[in-house]
């Protein structure tokens, strides 16, 4: 691997761990090849600003081309990326298609629901062997998306309110929830947690799964979640850990190699480690009682709960 031997490069290499540099460079080169291949295939005219950026990338690219075999792989990835992204635009990927591009979310769902069920039943002293243990509980699903979490919660007996900032998601969620009489009672609103606090709504349980890494100010978000929960209520948050393994799996593997998520869905810098999250929650007066790791086993294709929440593995 040929790191450009400029003074900037040397400073950078002292400040940041070398693995991170390599990873960043891989990302840039991949993106550069991507751009070049796209431009070549589409035959577009390059904008002047683009040309400047393009020449910077060309320098990186040139330095990497001297690496032997991996170049071919990157070219293949870039071309495959383009082909698949055009395929994505053609068939509108529907969030409720269990075999479609949202398949990992559907596979993940039963495991995280099992965790929610056991912790909420313990917290609210409900019978876990009952078919509808959440009868009488008001739950809000923050960032509900297409309603993949809200519908099972409603089937478990809860009165569910689903909120999302994107209007399209709310529309999809409403249409799908109408199909089953048990889920047609879900209330969907296109709003944010902060706006709900202004409306002075309160819920027994507030669930915000995979939301906090997309929010601009996590501590304000946690304060809104705390305001939405009644005293002695429950808040459930899940997010991706800021670890090397998470970078390799959630960003490189999920976005670039396997195309489970569109590129740019996650920013590694906005991930939170468990310690940081606990601190933020405590400042928002939420007492943290249980934590669990959530790992994917690629051999069986299933998610499982584990005790593995350390930030430094990789």
């Amino acid at each position: 691997m040929h790191v450009p031997n400029t003074s900037i490069g040397r400073h950078l290499s002292q400040l940041v761990p070398p693995t991170l540099v390599i990873v960043k460079i891989l990302k840039w080169t991949h993106h550069a090849l991507d751009q070049y291949a796209k431009m070549y295939l589409e035959g577009k005219q390059i904008d002047e600003a683009e040309r400047v950026r393009g020449s910077y990338k060309k320098a990186i690219l040139a330095s990497c081309i001297y690496c032997s075999l991996s170049t071919k792989i990157r070219l293949y990835i870039a071309v495959e990326n383009i082909l698949s992204s055009t395929k994505f635009k053609k068939n509108k990927c529907h969030v409720w298609d269990a075999e479609g591009p949202f398949k990992p979310l559907h596979v993940m769902n039963p495991t995280r629901l099992a965790f929610i069920r056991s912790t909420l039943c313990r917290h609210f002293r409900k019978d876990p062997h009952c078919a509808r243990p959440f009868e009488g509980l008001k739950i809000v699903d923050v960032g509900c998306g297409g309603g993949i979490l809200s519908e099972p919660l409603a089937r478990m007996g809860a009165t569910v309110t689903g909120i999302d900032a994107v209007e399209k998601n709310i529309k999809i969620a409403r249409v799908h929830a109408e199909l089953d009489p048990l889920t047609s009672t879900i209330e969907y609103c296109c709003t944010t947690a902060e706006k709900l606090v202004e409306e002075e709504r309160q819920f027994d349980a507030v669930i915000a799964l995979e939301v906090i890494e997309h929010v601009a100010d996590p501590s304000e978000f946690c304060k809104s979640l705390a305001a939405l929960t009644i005293s002695n209520g429950a808040t459930v948050i899940s997010t991706i850990n800021r670890s090397m393994r998470a970078y390799a799996t959630a960003i490189i593997a999920a976005e670039y190699l396997l195309h489970w998520l569109p590129k740019g869905t996650h920013q590694w810098s906005s991930f939170l480690t468990p310690e940081e999250l606990v601190l933020i929650l405590q400042r928002a007066s939420i007492n943290v009682q249980e934590m669990a790791g959530f790992v994917y086993n690629p051999l069986t294709g299933r998610w499982a709960l584990s005790d593995d929440i350390s930030p430094y593995d990789g």
Binding site: A98, P110, A131, R155, L179, D180
Partner: protein, 510 residues
Amino acid sequence: MKRVITRKLFVNVYGLRVQKKTFCNDAAAKLSSSKSGQCSKEPEEKQGSTTDVHQYDVAIVGGGMVGMALACSLANSPLTKQLSVAIIDSNPALGSRDWIKKEEPPDARVSTVTPATISLFKDVGAWQYVQQHRHAYFDKMQVWDYTGLGYTRYNARDANKEVLGCVVENKVLHNSLLSCMEDTDFQKTIYPSRLTSMTLHSSSSSTRVDSTSGPEFSTRGSVAKLELSNGNSLYAKLVVGADGAKSRVRELAGFSTTGWSYSQNAVICTVEHMIENHCAWQRFLPAGPIALLPMGDRFSNIVWTMSPKDSSDFKSMNEDDFVKAVNHALDYGYGPHPQSSLLGTGDIFSWLRADVTLSANERFEVPPKVVKLVSERMVFPLSLRHANDYASKRVVLIGDAAHTVHPLAGQGVNLGFGDAYALSRVIAEGIAVGTDIGEVSLLKKFEAERKPANIMMMAVLDGFQKAYSVDFGPLNILRAAAFHGAQYFSPLKRSIISYASGDQRLPLFS
């Protein structure tokens, strides 16, 4: 050749025959012949039933033993007992609870339940009802063939068990499952008719308002609509096809099947002896095996597999001739008796290890003589059939609808019971996390659990059937060697007993 040799190693599984024709098929045939006189009543029924269309969580099409086992196990699990279930079967015995009289001669349709199935029945609380009626445990078994070159005796104590299985009449099993369900306050509705058509509504919703004062029908999004032969319709979130080998659900849902029919028919009947019989006997004849199973009270059940032409001859011949033919087939007919203990008494490895199987020392015995024919003779064609998929959106197959096997090892209905309990467990797990029970991903979990086990058993049974239907010198010697191997090599015998009892999932290496 290798395949033949590996099949030879499994040669002596149970020589138990099973007669597990579900109630559906026979009763449907009887009912259709009797319904012709009732045509005038049907239009009246139709008028009364189209106004209210009920929605159920689960619709079990086929109320035979396997369908009832599913309903019973749903009724007894805390997570699923609140589901509303519709059972669609035109058998009149489901509606009325006719008590089985003890003095009645045993019915010819019996099944052998393995210890694994017995424990499943005990879990749902249905076994206590079976024990109130005629049932026969047996702990010994003898298998040999017509060449007289070898035999195998199995004893339950070889594998540290009490029994090898229990022979129970089908109607007793069915009744006990019904009684067990009656005990709980499970919401089930029995529809005494047959399924005519089934449609799966697509995800586009539609609102219908009933113009008469009835309630407004909410959107019937993705549910299955079933139409019955008496004009009723109902909606269900999950349709379970438990309607036997000629499954209508399988046909309507478009599942493709693989299989072939064995050119054999099975003749079954009940016979009586002079003495009590506590052992199961199976002899492989050139045309197919004949099995004698103890039913208690000096009765036994005979299942004789033979070519279709012979089966019609045997069905129509008079009783005395039939009894003579049975005795001949079990005794000296077609070939000599095997010699006991070819290499002297005892396990040839007894000097190597301490654990000697009890049955390795047992001599060959001749089965008890049949004295009288007690029931009528019935003939059923035999085939192998396997549905390529067990589940699709909102539809799942269990029991004979999913897999039909040869009765030579008494495994058919036991596979069906295993399916029913596995499905009820998977449904309970789905409800625990709030899944829609008709979701394909949930049903595929059931399929992934049961399909490999079913396919393995079917392959083993089909292998036996093919191995025993050929009369070829070297093959006969191989079969004899396999008999001896199973008789004297205790680990093999133990693993055969465990596999056939349903305790282990793979025939070997488990």
